[in-house]
Symmetry: none
Subunit: 136 residues, 2 copies
Amino acid sequence: MPVKLDFQLDFRSGVPIYTQIAEELRRKIASGQLKPGDQLPTVRELATELRINFNTVSRAYRVLDEVRLISTQTGRGTYISEAPTEEAILQLKQKSLRELAQTYLEDAARMGFSAQEARAEVDRLCETGNHTGENA
Amino acid sequence: MPVKLDFQLDFRSGVPIYTQIAEELRRKIASGQLKPGDQLPTVRELATELRINFNTVSRAYRVLDEVRLISTQTGRGTYISEAPTEEAILQLKQKSLRELAQTYLEDAARMGFSAQEARAEVDRLCETGNHTGENA
DNA sequence: TCCCAATTTGTATCATTGTATCATTGTACG
DNA sequence: CGTACAATGATACAATGATACAAATTGGGA
């Protein structure tokens, strides 16, 4: 069940509502009132409570999602992010580029591709610039 | 008994969960880790393991069922299709190789390497013939 | 062996949740 | 005034979840 968020908006301050919401959540996360894994109210719930449009809440959530403080997932809800995802990055960093490349060639080989084919595929991707992961 | 499928979901990637599951299965089929006749976990088993709703697994299975890669039958279970056409396999493999290469470049990028550096490393390995996997 | 009820398995339908797109409002600036 | 822009709202939509259902299997008991 989502955590309870009670805070007030100041409609006259000139500070955008979505900013006020984002800042308030930031404070609660920083202070530990909100912990990793906690589920935030749905955009509609919080919007109703604050008597605003749920798109405004959605925008506030998006701001925090972009800096990885929370994680929003369509159909699932919004959650405080788990402790820094540095772990995965650390694991990656512990591997050398050589090992990474080796693993790639091995995986390709398991699928029946020759090293040359695997190499050609990397070439192709490098040239089309399709490696930047803009699908994420 | 159903085969064991162990893989991770990325809830933050923006890629729908059902797509992630379908793609992962595609890879395993392409690489031969899953063979014709193999029984996949039931929608509920896999859903429990991945901590998602079984309808999401069902949707992933449906995607693959529609292209005849697997066969789902109410009351019986889900199985890898017998003898998919060579053409289908070829397409699968091409797609999988591209994804594999893309993942490699992305991982390398996260480690701070440019696409060109990653490409060069593959070239080096190809030339020294060090890709045969003696490092395990 | 046969029957039937319980169980297991996937499916259909709808509710829930966040997102994308565009319209509306308000305000600053010329 | 009128334009331009940001903030907010309305609406339609995609992904996921909850629930009830249908089809196949299973296992006793007659």
